[in-house]
């Protein structure tokens, strides 16, 4: 059984999220490109997971299950990247520090392996809120 890892969560754009964003949000391509987390190889080893496994990421605002992808933007040990989209937004807080902008990046989070975790598609995710 792997342990929980304390990490910093960042969200942002990727090319595949960008192409799937255009008119394909209700399709599987969006799940494939945005319901993922990019992990540093070192963190993958610590979590004892492999590419394609499911992990649960939790912040003080919620939790979400996404698929592990080996990061092509490594090294970034201790930093987890989720492409912008509804899966990332499950665990982003609403407060704006009085300037209108929520904190979409650099958030404290915990990550753990959840073998056979269920990844919801975008519609199921928002309708289950």
């Amino acid at each position: 059984m792997s342990e929980k890892l304390n990490v910093i969560l960042i969200t942002g754009r990727t090319i595949s999220q960008g192409t799937a964003r255009e008119g394909k949000k209700t399709q599987n391509e969006y799940v494939e490109s945005a319901a993922i987390c990019e992990l540093d190889p070192e963190d993958i080893e610590k979590l004892r997971v492999k590419e394609g496994d499911t992990v649960r990421i939790e912040t003080s605002y919620g939790a979400v299950i996404v698929r592990v992808v080996i990061s092509t933007q490594a090294p970034h040990s201790g930093i987890v990247f989720i492409p912008m989209g509804p899966w990332a937004n499950e665990i982003i807080g609403p407060n704006t520090d009085g300037i209108g902008m929520p904190s979409f990046k650099s958030i404290s989070a915990e990550i753990e392996a959840v073998p056979d975790g269920k990844i919801l598609d975008a519609l199921a995710l928002i309708k289950g809120r």
Binding site: R21, K24, I99, M101, I126
Partner: protein, 434 residues
């Protein structure tokens, strides 16, 4: 018989590349000459299965298809009787539609905002506080010898930025292209952009403010701590020296700086760094704007109201106070009773609690494609794709306006954003007896 259309402007990202070639057969795009996956997808995926063909109105537990006139009339009725409407989106449509939308917002006393609120809003706040030294991308191509990307990854988000405008191209004073330039990348990950850089500074998350301050100290000759945000004093002093010895510096920054740590105060500090560098050399700075016309909304709203985003017409006159009148805050306070969403998908891109708040009110959506927001909307009105099926104007990230071209006819019965908004506005005025 195929037709090749040259110099087409790409309505995808803030680069607004205007050198695309599109091949059309009949009324269909069959090929694009575009080296960017994001841009070519915009043209080739025009008629995918999720294109909306008919207007629809929510009834009890489902939807009924509606004639466009009925959907527009119903949308106008909802907006005209609203107590605190929100009109949001705008960054993926053209400026004339935005102009009509602002008039509609004034007419119904709405809060009007665009995606600036959740991207470079902090940049605008800081620019208003400190001022900004900037220029066009053409000037950067011709002059810049030190190119710095901070908290952004254009190789994923603006794929042609480096090749068309900043690092690779030959310029008037940079005849050898990349050999005449130095590329510095500052990021928390070793991104695809960082891999191209001569100097990559891997800063710890939330330490941008401190690192900017360290550069400000170093260029003025003050003592820098041994390590700042994971970057050694030697490296900070080396980059500061390169900065002072360069002829023309450009700093591009992204959401890595606006969305984390001190947010707008990060930007205050980096704008101040550019000001400090003017004691030694020329330095300009530019935010990496995401959607192709996010800048256009800021421009048009500023002409019309004096303010660039987050404007509240609730009292009959424009009021601007991000943090109070910005979209996330009004939704967090559960203040609004109706939302008109155009050219955007906030249900996908707002934090969960904010998206839930939006789902509690009737939503009218104007969009060419199905999205998560159309899934929860009360009224959906399909529109033509601006920049492909409708002409108009859009503003590149450097505030240069470019004319978008109409290269195809929209599907039968599908109107442009500006026509739909004009007809909603006419109906609202009639209902209000104006």
């Amino acid at each position: 018989m195929s037709k090749i259309i040259t110099n087409v402007v790409c309505p995808y990202c803030g680069c607004l590349c205007d050198d695309l070639e599109v091949v059309i057969e009949g009324n269909k795009i069959v090929e694009t000459e575009c080296p960017c996956e994001l841009g070519s997808g915009r043209f080739l995926d025009l008629d995918i299965a999720t294109r909306i063909r008919e207007s629809r109105i929510k009834v009890d537990e489902g939807f009924k298809e509606a004639k466009i006139d009925e959907a527009i009339e119903r949308a106008a009725e909802i907006l005209a009787s609203a107590r605190r409407p929100l009109i949001y989106g705008w960054s993926s449509t053209e400026c004339d539609a935005i102009r009509v939308g602002i008039e509609l917002a004034e007419e119904v006393g709405a809060i009007i905002d665009n995606t600036t609120s959740i991207c470079h809003g902090p940049t605008i706040l800081a620019s208003q506080d400190v001022g900004i030294s900037t220029c066009t991308l053409g000037e950067i191509k011709n002059r810049a010898d030190l190119v710095i990307y901070w908290g952004c990854n254009p190789m994923q988000a603006h794929p042609r930025h480096l090749s068309r405008y900043t690092f690779f191209p030959r310029g008037f004073f940079r005849e050898k292209g990349q050999d005449d330039r130095t590329l510095v990348v500052i990021d928390v990950r070793k991104t695809d952009t960082a891999k191209l850089a001569k100097h990559f500074l891997q800063v710890k998350p939330n330490y941008d403010y401190e690192l900017i301050s360290a550069f400000r100290l170093a260029i003025k000759g003050y003592q820098v701590p041994d390590s700042v945000g994971g970057i050694s004093r030697e490296k900070i002093e080396e980059i500061a020296k390169i900065m002072k010895e360069s002829h023309f510096i450009v700093i591009f920054f992204g959401l890595g700086v606006t969305m984390s740590g001190a947010k707008n105060r990060n930007i205050d500090n980096v704008l101040s760094l550019t000001r400090d560098l003017h004691r030694f050399t020329k330095c300009v700075i530019m935010p990496m704007r995401g959607h192709y016309n996010v800048t256009g909304f800021n421009e048009v709203l500023t002409w019309e109201t004096g303010f660039p985003y987050a404007v509240d017409f609730g009292r009959g006159h424009p009021k601007y106070n991000p943090g109070e009148t910005s979209v996330i805050d009004v939704l967090l306070r559960e203040e609004i009773d109706v939302a008109l969403i155009i050219a955007s998908d906030p249900i996908a891109h707002f934090p969960k609690e904010i998206a839930k708040s939006l789902m509690n009110v009737p939503i009218i959506v104007i969009d060419p494609y199905e999205s998560l927001t159309t899934e929860v909307a009360s009224i959906v009105i399909p529109s033509a794709v601006a920049g492909i099926e409708v002409d108009g104007t859009a503003y590149r990230m450097d505030h240069v306006p470019l004319r978008l071209r109409k290269i195809l006819e929209p599907p039968e019965g599908i109107l442009s954003d500006r026509e739909i908004l004009s007809r909603i506005l006419e109906n609202v005025k009639r209902l209000k007896g104006r």
